[in-house]
Amino acid sequence: MPILEARSLTKNFRRPDKASGFKGAVTHLMQRKYKNYTAVNGIDLSIEAGESVAYVGPNGAGKSTTVKLLTGILKPSEGTVRVMGRDPHAERIANAHDIGVLFGQRTQLWWDLPVEESLKLLKHMYGVSDADYRARIARFDALLDLGEFMPALARTLSLGQRMRADLACALIHDPKMVYLDEPTIGLDISVKDRLRAFLREMADDGTTLLLTSHDLADIEEVCERIVVIDKGAIAYDGPIRQLKAHYITTKTVHLFLEGPADVPVLAEKFPDYDWAAGEAPSEVVVTYESNRFTTAEVLGSLTSRLAPRDLSLSEPSIEDVIRRLYAGELTE
């Protein structure tokens, strides 16, 4: 039985339809008009216990609204959600005991008190025993260096420290299902790496994760499955591996030759590959279909016949694939 199941999940909102300027403001005051729009449109989503799922999409695609529907914050306009068998909105308090939520753009720390006070309050809220609390704080300290800013006022923390503290707040009760909405937003690379390592460890330990992020490195490092949402509807749902296998069908070799590269001559010599000039005069970019040729074959033929000074190998990133999915260039 899935830990989370959403069927035909839909959320409609009403927005003021107001013209700009003074006249628009006065007109709206006298004659209010609203426009309905659909933020989430008939989503079907099923997540098994222990899965780590990335939920991605462009800005305004409906990611955060979906998370709010799944966590019970919002009531769906249509459709159903069940998390561990419960309706998360109707049974909000019971559901909240079993989930952990991190909103990267909204802190759950009490702003004017030390981080430790926020964690202790959450300990009371979730009924965490003293022994479990100590053990979890020790673990967070080991993985997130929490100890260094536990006594600091939340408002004095750097963004990276704040996010680590917020993550500890979201996980202090050892939730079965964790929702992370943009957990690495605005963080520097070293803090991102540390958070990703922590999330990977959580996923390996069997915690069910739903992660939304614009940073696709988060997704590739932490998740096995990806759900791409666009305009409120699911555009792709499947393993990241499969997404890559399905859509990433070419690879690229950058060759650095001893002298200037003559692209037309090379293209004639190796007609099975696509050739293009590189950034440097001696650089040439070779693209081949990875389902026709193995990398070993390609490199073997190129190095034996051209004796390049250096080479590098690359493949389109998942970011490229998702960019093309957003743009509607790819279909499932």
Binding site: F13, R14, K63, S64, K68, T71, G72, I73, L74, K75, R92, I93, A94, A96, H97, I99, V101, F103, G104, Q105, R106, T107, Q108, W110, D112, L113, E117, K120, L121, L122, H124, M125, Y126, D181, E182, I185
Partner: protein, 262 residues
Amino acid sequence: MASVDVALATISFKRKIAYKTTWVFSILFGGWSLLAGLAVWNHLIGDGELGGYDWPAMKAYLIIGFLTGTLAWAGSDWEMANRILDGLVAVDLTKPVDFQRARAAEYMGGMTASVPAAVLGTAAAVLIFQPAPPVSPLAGALTAFSLLFIFPLAFGISYLSILTCFVTQRYLGIQWAKDSMVAFFSGMMVPLALMPGWLQVLSWTMPFVHFTTTPASIYLGRVDTAGALGLIAAEAAWAVGLWAAGRLIWGGLVKKVTIHGG
């Protein structure tokens, strides 16, 4: 009271006293209002009386008004309102606590931070200005008991006012309206006895009257013991009624809540 309520109230208390300068300023400003009130009413009453208050009784009334005002204005309306306006209510709704009960614990914890200032200020004012004593020890005890209801009443009124933010998306005007209603209809600004009869009747139909007029009436013997118990029962009824109204409105709002942005 469950440990989570105590923990929320305690954290709110700590937040209030975290800003020590603001705390001290609020005490000084409260004291200044009392001094100004005493000067004005002394000038108006002189050796006579006004609305049934002679000068010692008016001093007692104003000191009770200082005490109740210090408590009533000590809640964290803006913190509650801002959580709705900024969308932080989303975070609150992911916690395994009843939303209204959690806000009540926080609000009353914040009010408790003003108790030392209210009690010390009142004690100092009593020593310095020598107001009329309570009409009887029982009246004094019933006055103290009636003052306890300021906590749930202040929360109930503030909670209903901040829930309007879901609709208005602004709190400033609502807060002004709420504060002026409390200040006027409680008798904090002018004793109800000095208002036209119809306004007095209107005031007694609202919960605000219990912030100052009720404790002062009990203290000064303007109502007998049965009347005092009746007023306390009315305070309790308002506290329950406001709580129920808050729950009813929240129940409707939470189904329609919209939180834009990530």
